[in-house]
Symmetry: C2
Subunit: 257 residues, 2 copies
């Protein structure tokens, strides 16, 4: 039987506010067994860019990352957000190690080709070095991963944190029994989007089709669930969509299997 | 017999200019055996602070680090400078891992007490986790260390890179045959400070006393050499003071034994 590994993805909003960050890290520290954290930081990057007089340009929710913006996200994601989390986790007794995809070459990506949009220094994940991550985990180390990868040619690349968490989960699925948790602003997939008490507890391939027909799963939730099922197909045990404040009870939220 | 470990300390000026950085990293990549890099980044931090409208205050060459400045150095040292180096080294086939003292708790420090000056979030090294560093090195990983430590209570602390390199060397001296190399703007300790061809090739405790009497070692070089002899006393095999551009030939420079 494979050992359980919990991968938590948490977005910028949670990690950028001291109060919600502290609550999150306390819950994360309390998770038993092997674990790994992937974080965002987009709001801080936008705020820092603005302070530096650099305009943030987004296309379909993705940041255009020119050379100047790459410097900003490298500072904010790889430095400020990542190392703040690491220092806090160490104080909570978690032997955290902050990493980007370049560190120990854990996540190699390819700069996105220019089709209609030039996203600049943005990477699509090509390869996860599961052995390197597994050896850290086995040594009792808890990787804390910032949303940056590298191209193997010397350049860092801005990379979507949701995708990094998903690819990391898939890459580690042959070694561990991987439970991938996406922290979200709502309690999970909701039957009534304004009511956190209407969480759909479990979604399978079969029920997913009917939830779409019923109009319960719509819009931005569709790509999230498509990605979740891709992870399941690649051997991930389950994908959980839940509220960051509910990490102390992972039986809540929506479980995709 | 212990394995050789080369620890290179390189200052901000070298790592902040693309050309000198590339030359340095090529030379670093070519060093055989176990190795570790400690870098600075003060000039970039000062420039970034200035862009953000934050005034840099120095006392005796040390940066006063209030909460705002701590954010800047965390971004610049831990993010921008560190991760840029890591991505470049990966492209050169070096399995680099960027770290601060908080990562894997490798360097714990104590916030400097306020005597006449309040340096703010500045740390003095208390403990180097030599076992953690040794296990990374034995696994073929090359630590790249930014000048930040932590207090174990959740806070990062700005820490002098020369001191971090020295303390890391001392900490690892019981495990490895440590050669500690300080890159400097000159070719070593010079008999004529304006002539790089007058390097004093070797300094021992005995010759150090006469070099001071002769007035060859003066000013800022005295604390550097005092620290070097402290490292030797703690078991470091030798301390080398040389030019960053001379890393391809470590037999040059001043060897302190």
């Amino acid at each position: 039987m494979k050992d359980k590994l919990t991968i938590i993805k948490v977005g910028g909003k949670i990690v950028e506010e001291p109060q919600s960050l502290n609550a999150l890290l306390n819950d994360f520290a309390a998770i038993d067994g092997f674990k790994l954290l992937v974080h965002g930081g987009g709001r801080s990057a936008t705020a820092m860019a603005s302070q530096l007089g650099i305009e943030t340009k987004m296309v379909d929710g993705r940041r255009i990352t020119d050379a100047e913006m790459l410097r900003v996200v490298t500072m904010v994601y790889g430095g400020l957000v990542n190392k703040t989390i690491v220092a806090r986790l160490q104080a909570l007794g978690v032997d955290a190690l902050g990493m980007t995809g370049a560190d120990m070459n854990i996540i190699l990506s390819k700069r996105r080709e220019v089709k209609t949009v030039d996203y600049g220094f943005v990477g699509d994940v090509e390869k996860v070095n599961a052995q390197a991550l597994a050896s850290l985990l086995r040594a009792g180390i808890v990787p804390v991963i910032a949303p940056l990868t590298h191209d193997g040619l010397g350049s860092l690349l801005n990379t979507n944190a949701d995708t990094m968490a998903g690819e990391t989960a898939k890459g580690l699925a042959s070694i561990f029994d991987v439970h991938l948790v996406y922290c979200f602003e709502k309690a999970g997939v909701l039957r009534d989007e304004n009511d956190d008490n209407t969480v759909v507890g479990e979604i399978t391939r079969q029920s997913y089709a009917s939830l779409r027909e019923e109009g319960i799963v719509t819009g931005g939730m569709i790509p999230k669930l498509d990605n979740a099922f891709d992870a399941i197909d690649a051997g991930v045990a389950e994908v959980i969509i839940t509220k960051a404040s509910a990490l102390d009870n992972l039986s809540a939220g929506t479980h995709i299997k």
